[in-house]
């Protein structure tokens, strides 16, 4: 099939950037979206032009590297599917597809469709861990964990850190990402010990990075390739309030 692609091109972080239109004439319906871009790039390289830079690595929907807004929807709008797992059979011959990078102040464009998601790493560095150094830990079965708690923690832990939630949110809020990590660790006894400290630190870092606020539109949940639930945002709100009051009350 034939497609018209309107792709965001930007030389580097300082460049203003703009859309360039390309024709993709030999698109096979069994290609993944990224393979379609690979083929476009082959054509560009053959003409001696710079290929379109886009991020991708595992191409099986788990590493969270790919980050394309396709026709206004991060990852292209197929349920529970990352851009790398999106296949061209979902598009029609002759269609125009607009491809843009994640847009958010904390995710500056590096080049073309590549953005810098360092802000997510910074958030994790500020508290998204259990402070357990290697060695000296008790036997893995020393603390039983209810299956429900463990399953709920796993639901949250599935987050791949792709940033689609931020990209989809009209406020570029990182609440879904932060809440997933806060909930994952907070739901487990191993993570409960430093739960308050964690949530206070992570929210502070999130705010400092310049993400927007949650207005509960639900866009993040809808585009999340791992279907992380809005419930976790509510839980984050609860955990933060608890932590603020407990810290004001003094250590107990």
């Amino acid at each position: 099939m034939k497609l018209t692609l309107k792709i965001w091109r930007q030389k580097n972080g300082n460049d203003a950037g703009g859309f360039v239109t390309y024709q993709a004439n030999d698109v096979n319906k069994d290609m993944s979206f990224l393979e379609m871009l690979d083929v476009v790039n082959e054509g560009l390289i053959a003409e001696g032009k710079d290929p379109v830079a886009f991020d991708s690595d595992c191409r099986e929907g788990i590493c969270g590297t790919c980050s394309l807004v396709i026709n206004g929807v991060p990852h292209g709008g197929q349920k529970a599917t990352t851009a790398c797992q999106l296949h061209m059979r979902h598009f029609q011959d002759g269609q125009t597809i607009t491809i843009e990078p994640w847009r958010a102040r904390p995710f500056p464009v590096v080049r073309d469709l590549v953005v810098d998601r360092d802000a997510f790493d910074k958030i994790i560095q500020s508290g998204g861990f259990v402070s357990a150094s290697t060695g000296g830990t008790p036997d893995a079965n020393a603390i039983p964990i209810s299956k429900d708690a463990s399953d709920a923690a796993m639901d949250a832990a599935q987050c791949i850190g792709c940033g689609a939630c931020v990209a989809a949110c009209k406020n570029a809020s990182a609440m879904l990402f932060v809440s997933a990590k806060v909930s994952h660790l907070g739901l487990l006894p191993q993570g409960k010990v430093e739960k308050d400290r964690r949530v206070l630190a992570m929210v502070k870092t999130m705010d400092e990075a310049g993400f927007g606020n949650c207005t509960v539109t639900g866009a993040c949940e809808a585009v999340c390739p791992k279907e992380i639930s809005l419930d976790f945002i509510s839980r984050l709100n609860r955990d933060y309030a608890t932590a603020v009051f407990k810290s004001a009350w003094g250590a107990k």
Binding site: E100, A104, R105, V203, N213, L230
Partner: protein, 224 residues
């Protein structure tokens, strides 16, 4: 950690302020509606109710100041949040697909601003500088007649109905959000709160607009 800083300077804290003040204002809207619906129980009942409210001026003023304070905080927090939200997305998408988001959730700031303007008008209309200040047989302010007079004007009534529509759009999202922001929307509760918000918004819309609608249809004509 300073608790005031944690609340007033953090994104989540500002949402708590939105949620808590929103909850107070939502409570007022319900009480306001229930009180006003007494108009259908006749002139005596509504005028007595109005007189009762004014009988303890101290309490009345505490409530008024409290509400004003909530409105002020609600607007302050909203303006802060909107400013931050705009800053967080400096460049817009070429193509915008709102996916699953509701109209109400995307337009909170606009519905909120219009409703605020309406409230100011409404206060002037019925509280601060009402057109009619007559008294009933028991020498109480004749609220009944004031309302009937006010809503006899179809333009005024239409304006009230539209403004209430916006208020209820605002509430349909606001009520659901406040439970989310205050951390109650998990598990089965999410569904309940989401449905409750829509139902209560409709109830308030129907309740509030029933008064101008009834007046337009001839209710209370006898006092004019």
């Amino acid at each position: 950690m300073n608790i005031f800083k944690a609340i007033f300077c953090s994104s989540l804290g500002k949402k708590y302020i939105m949620g808590l003040t929103g909850l107070a204002l939502f409570g007022f809207v319900i009480g306001h509606m229930v009180g006003n619906l007494q108009i259908f129980m006749g002139q005596e009942k509504i005028n007595a109710y109005a007189a009762m409210l004014k009988s303890v001026p101290k309490l009345l003023w505490v409530a008024r100041i409290g509400l004003l304070f909530c409105v002020g905080l609600h607007i302050w927090a909203a303006s802060q949040l909107v400013r931050e939200n705009r800053a967080a997305r400096p460049s817009r998408y070429e193509v915008n697909d709102p996916t699953v988001t509701t109209f109400a959730s995307r337009t909170m700031i606009w519905s909120g601003l219009i409703v605020f303007a309406f409230i100011v008008y409404h206060l002037f209309d019925f509280t601060i500088a009402p057109d009619y200040l007559g008294h009933d047989a028991k020498d109480r302010h004749d609220v009944f007649k004031m309302v009937i007079l006010g809503f006899s004007n179809p333009f005024s009534s239409l304006f009230y109905i539209i403004a209430n529509g916006l208020l209820c759009i605002h509430l349909s999202h606001g009520v659901k959000s406040l439970f989310q922001s205050l951390g109650f929307s998990t598990g089965q509760f999410r569904g309940w709160f989401d449905r409750f918000a829509v139902v209560i918004a409709w109830v308030i819309f129907i309740g509030n607009t029933s008064i101008p609608a009834a007046v337009l249809l001839g209710f209370g004509k006898e006092v004019l």
